[in-house]
Point group: C2
Chain length 306, copies 2
């Protein structure tokens, strides 16, 4: 806890960027236009919230964060694939992401679909291969993490949340109304955004060798972080300028998409995010993890401006 959070985040990011730059198969193993397409989306920056949370969770439970680094990178590959597919014309039809034209705009829809498929598939390759070890304990942790990550990214998690969102938006007022209660909105976001954030933290805690009660507490805290993240995201979509966000601002509201500010107003939405953080603090405190970087990361999530 000696260095300021900003330095800690920077250190994590450097570690992650370095591994991300080399983790995918490159030519001649990978067809060059496909490699370019994946790199374009993967190395476009981004907050790297999920991999940072993964590394910090491994440390929070007393583990070595290098053991969690492959899982951190794999989860960022999955997050990136989800952005690429969500931006497609048949989905959210977005043309800007992380301050640049979206992948299908620059590489075509077919190549964007394949780049997403490739990022997702390679993520599981990374989880299976790394860290390379025949130690049965590490092998068992890796397999458990693959189960956690596939569950979070799959149809009961992220893909399912996106399907619910897709079905509710843009077709009719009746369909949109399916998401206009707080419970329905929260359930959709818990899948679409929350599940992978949770999986990132849990994967870190597992790879770091945390005891079961610590893994559960990290899961509970990350569940709150995920919700807080989404609330702040909705607030930023209302308040932010496109150039700060790196994506089209005000798009959700314009699409008639239900948002926290629309349901609760800005002030109450902010208060809800703070309450998430309070619950996360309580969960971590019960297993004496309240003094770890995790809570600082939670604070960063609710005070971020992009």
């Amino acid at each position: 806890m000696s260095v300021p959070l900003s330095d800690y985040l920077q250190g994590c990011r450097a570690e992650i960027e370095s591994m991300l730059a080399t983790v995918l198969p490159s030519p001649p193993d990978c067809f060059p236009p496909l490699a370019d397409a994946m790199q374009y989306s993967l190395l476009a920056g981004g907050k790297r919230l999920r991999p940072i949370l993964c590394l910090a969770s491994a440390e929070a439970v007393g583990g070595d964060r290098t053991l969690a680094r492959p899982a951190a990178c794999a989860i960022e590959l999955i997050h990136t694939y989800s952005l690429v597919h969500d931006d497609l014309p048949a989905m959210d039809d977005d043309t800007m992401r992380r301050g640049r034209p979206t992948l299908h705009v620059v590489a075509g829809e077919g190549m964007a679909i394949l780049a997403g498929d490739g990022l997702l598939t390679e993520a599981f390759g990374v989880l299976a291969r790394e860290p390379a070890s025949s130690d049965p304990m590490v092998v068992a942790r890796k397999l458990r993490v693959i189960g956690v990550v596939s569950g979070a990214a799959g149809v009961a998690g992220m893909v399912g949340g996106q399907a619910i969102d897709l079905a509710a938006v843009g077709t009719s007022a009746a369909a949109a109304s399916r998401l206009d209660t707080p419970e329905a909105l929260q359930a959709m976001h818990a899948r679409k955004t929350g599940a992978l954030i949770r999986a990132a933290a849990v994967a870190g805690a597992i790879m770091g060798g945390g005891p079961e009660d610590a893994i559960e507490a990290v899961d509970a805290a990350a569940t709150e972080f995920g919700l807080a993240f989404q609330i702040v995201d909705d607030i930023l979509d209302v308040e932010g300028a496109s150039e700060d966000l790196g994506k089209t601002a005000g798009k959700d509201a314009a699409a008639g998409k239900p948002t926290y500010p629309a349901l609760y107003g800005i002030d109450r939405s902010r208060q809800l995010a703070v309450e998430c953080l309070d619950r996360a603090e309580a969960a971590l405190g019960r297993v004496s993890l309240g003094g770890t970087r995790l809570l600082e990361i939670g604070r960063w999530i609710i005070t971020r401006t992009n």
Copy 2:
């Protein structure tokens, strides 16, 4: 070897269909339209070549085929996702598959993309969870299989092959000419079709507990099967009627796609497929697996009519 091959195939298929029918998360864990979309494609029939090869490989190396059943099903999930995504308008733009309208025709492009993503992700969930066992040997085999399958399905395998195919077709004569040599055509198919067929056999041999030399022989034989499968596929595309194939016949030729009959003629193409089988027989014979079901399955591949 007491029952005829057709009965053996039927037994394998029954086992696979039964597991496929229950392997995916269902409502309320899965959003009903998404569950419907995945089931529509998954349970539409198909030859189930890959899972059959997986089960037969486990038995060929002396193992219990029930240990390989989850891997067999996971690979069929991956094969099905690849068909769903390949059929999309931005890719091959096909409207018929397995005798029915393609998924994007009945469920929309967005839902088809998500159903494919879901099938791929859940495949890794199945590989991680099943067979449920804390036996370190089984755990290690499962993790190895995840590595093999992700490699075969990823950018150095199936996704890469599809990207090469996508880039070569439909844009210009110059682009198409990239695939008009036998070597280039074979390299593309080795990725697009061959890699997952190999992975199915190798996964079976690993789960069945085969020794390394048997796993290698099964891999070598399955490599030949994959090539033979593609050659026969090209021949059927020229000769077959759409109703037998369950998909649009003559489409490859019409698209100016390079095919084995176009490069070699029908008779020489048939001969090439037989030569594949001869090489597979030699590879299996070297480790005394020549008398197993695998070779019979190879013969079925080259004599199939759909």
